[in-house]
């Protein structure tokens, strides 16, 4: 039998048993949609994080209060962990061999107003060393960065200047943060990461000015200390920093109340967490796809039984066992295909929605408000092929049964 005719036969059968066919197809749709949604979120997330971290530079080391790296990454703003970072720690760090520059960070959020419009902005308190620490990845578009002793002045990130208010904030303007007025002495260039590094959305000011906007941190209680080190020896120097700080703070490894990490470490921790979550979610998606496959097999078995007489007629008229088998395989492959196409469509939809939600939820964290979803063409193609394959594989046993029916028996079947 020609493929075209097999296809017609298959379509005929599927449309005759409309409701049953659709119920079977839905099984596949759910599995495929789940896979697409999960993979696209996973891929988008990894890309967003990689971009974010890429902007941070490979010669950076961070010290934050609190002993657990993962909890620091996940806690975002102001989680109070025991142990504070002070200017003493800053001095210790600066004394480590291989350290080029170190700057303290404190953060907060405050409403800023400019020319009649207002918006919430990140407040970033630091000192003149920050520009040196971030030399490799940050540059000024206009004006300058903070200098030693600066008070009452701010430097804006590119998004803070250009996108936060109706009107663009220009160099030299006055901007109101909370109840205080500041002069804009510098505007930074965009960091170039995919959709908004925190720096782009921030207002930089001295520690003394920033203190009032930061609930948890202060002039001598830092959110983090950023350090620029010799690039070739990042891990080694990070280790030295850790040792010296442990000594200075009189803590041992098991009682450590701060964390030292490099972007590489962050990435690997985040990757591990993501991978674990992803595996779990893939597992769920795989199970639902399995259920879909079982659904197809069930439908096809029932179909074979119901059409036993028909199969007998077809064989009597000269259809070979192989052709009968192909007939049923085409049908189950078709179920897989339709399920796959619809699954991809719904997968797109769901991942789009998730992207919107995460964008809103994560706007206030270290990652920033990023659309963390990415559907690659490879994913679509793979899902399509996979769903057809599932259709075929699920249909093999029923198709074989149909192929093996004895014509005489089949014709006698009521």
């Amino acid at each position: 039998m020609r493929f075209k005719d097999s296809l017609r036969f298959a379509l005929n059968n599927l449309t005759t048993r409309g409701l049953r066919s659709w119920l079977t197809i839905i099984g596949v749709v759910i599995g495929v949609a789940a896979i697409i949604a999960i993979v696209s979120v996973g891929q988008g997330l990894q890309q967003a994080i990689a971009n974010q971290l890429g902007a941070l530079g490979s010669d950076q080391v961070y010290v934050v209060p609190g002993g657990s790296i993962s909890s620091n990454i996940m806690s975002g703003l102001g989680a109070k962990e025991p142990g504070e970072l002070t200017d003493k720690d800053l001095s210790v760090i600066e004394s480590v061999e291989g350290v080029i520059a170190a700057a303290p960070d404190i953060i907060g959020i405050e409403t800023a107003s400019f020319m009649g419009d207002s918006n919430k902005l990140y407040i970033w308190g630091t000192n003149e060393q920050w520009a040196k620490v971030r030399e490799a990845s940050v540059s000024m578009e206009s004006g300058r960065f903070l200098a030693k002793g600066d008070r009452g002045v701010v430097v804006l990130g590119s998004d803070a200047a250009k996108k936060a208010f109706d009107k663009e904030v220009l160099l030299g303007s006055q901007i109101k943060i909370g109840n205080e007025s500041y002069k804009v002495i510098g505007i930074m260039k965009g960091s170039g990461g995919l959709g908004g590094a925190q720096e782009d959305k921030a207002v930089f000011m001295s520690l003394e000015d920033a203190e009032k906007y930061s609930g948890a941190f202060g002039v001598n209680n830092y959110y983090a200390i950023e350090i620029k080190v010799e690039q070739e020896r990042v891990d080694e120097i990070a280790e030295k920093i850790k040792e010296k700080l442990m000594n200075a703070r009189h803590v041992t490894e098991d009682k450590i109340d701060f964390s030292v990490y490099t972007p590489k470490m962050i990435l690997s921790v985040v990757s591990n967490v993501l991978t674990t979550i992803n595996i779990f979610l893939y597992g769920i998606a795989a199970i639902s796809l399995l259920v879909g496959a079982v659904g197809i097999a069930n439908t096809m078995f029932t179909s074979v039984t119901e059409r036993t007489r028909q199969i007998g007629i077809l064989k009597a008229l000269g259809m070979t066992n192989k052709d009968v088998m192909n007939l049923f395989l085409v049908e189950s492959a078709l179920i897989g295909l339709v399920g796959g196409i619809l699954g991809i469509f719904f997968g797109f939809l769901i991942s789009g929605i998730i992207g919107q939600i995460t964008s809103v939820l994560l706007a206030s964290s270290r990652i920033g408000g990023v659309s963390m979803v990415y559907v690659s063409p490879e994913l679509v193609l793979f899902s399509l092929i996979f769903s057809v394959a599932i259709g075929i594989v699920s249909g093999i046993f029923p198709a074989r049964r149909a192929a093996r029916l004895e014509p005489v028996e089949a014709l006698r079947y009521e």
Binding site: N12, Q310, I313, K315, A316, L317, N321, V408
Partner: protein, 236 residues
């Protein structure tokens, strides 16, 4: 003997079929030998359970004998595998069943085309052929109806057209009028008999009125031939 061979459509030699029904062996056919002459109407008659249907299935290559051989023309069917038998059925044999056995999801013309579709014939060719055959059996107006929209007699005519589309050597009809009223049954028998110019017609029936139309009779009882090659004169 050779001269006779040329006029023989089907030859059965020592044909036996034993069914195994849950441990009980049923001897449906018991070593029968006979032949069916070409281009004639042969009726295979006998009471219920005499083995008529079994014989038809073996002649039609729908089933294999437990022992013995069936020759379709000069072809020894015992030497053919399943695929070859399927091809044989498709090319040389046309079936007409008691319950019509049309595909319910196909229109009349699609049903008639079916043997050709299986053979991968071109769409245009098989459609033309099918429509022409439907015309011959008087159903050109019903070509695009579904079986459930046709009367019993009409469905059987579709079945006959289907049996003819591949220009078969043999037409096997299993109680073709069993499900029809007298009038329709009569029309169908007339149609079948008219086909003997093109093919060999074999009709299974328990109805002597139907057998009346045949040129040649094989009579079975309990899986054995009571007499074959008999003529209507002896029977009636």
């Amino acid at each position: 003997m050779e001269k006779e061979e040329k006029n023989i459509a089907v030859k059965a030699v020592n044909l036996t079929k034993i069914y195994d029904l849950d441990g009980i062996k049923v001897r449906a056919l018991d070593g029968i030998t006979f032949f069916i002459p070409k281009n004639q109407v042969t009726a295979i008659i006998g009471p219920s359970g005499s083995g008529k249907s079994t014989l038809l299935h073996l002649i039609g290559c729908l089933d294999k004998p437990t022992s013995g051989k069936v020759y379709i023309g000069s072809i020894d069917t015992s030497k053919l595998n399943d695929n070859e038998l399927a091809r044989l059925r498709n090319e040389k044999i046309g079936f007409v069943f008691q319950f019509f056995n049309l595909h319910p999801l196909l229109t009349a013309v699609e049903n008639v085309e079916l043997p050709e579709t299986i053979r991968c014939a071109s769409e245009k060719e098989r459609r033309e052929k099918a429509l022409s055959l439907l015309k011959q059996v008087g159903l050109e107006g019903r070509a695009f109806h579904f079986p459930n929209q046709l009367s019993g007699g009409e469905q059987q005519r579709v079945a006959i057209a289907r049996a003819l589309i591949n220009d078969p050597e043999i037409i096997l009809a299993d109680e073709p009028t069993g499900n029809l009223d007298t009038k329709a049954g009569h029309e169908i028998m007339q149609l079948l008999v008219s086909l003997k110019k093109k093919a060999t017609v074999v009709v299974i029936t328990h109805d002597l009125d139907i057998a009346r139309h045949a040129d040649h009779i094989v009579r079975l009882r309990d899986g054995k031939i009571e007499y074959a090659n008999g003529f209507k004169k002896r029977l009636l």
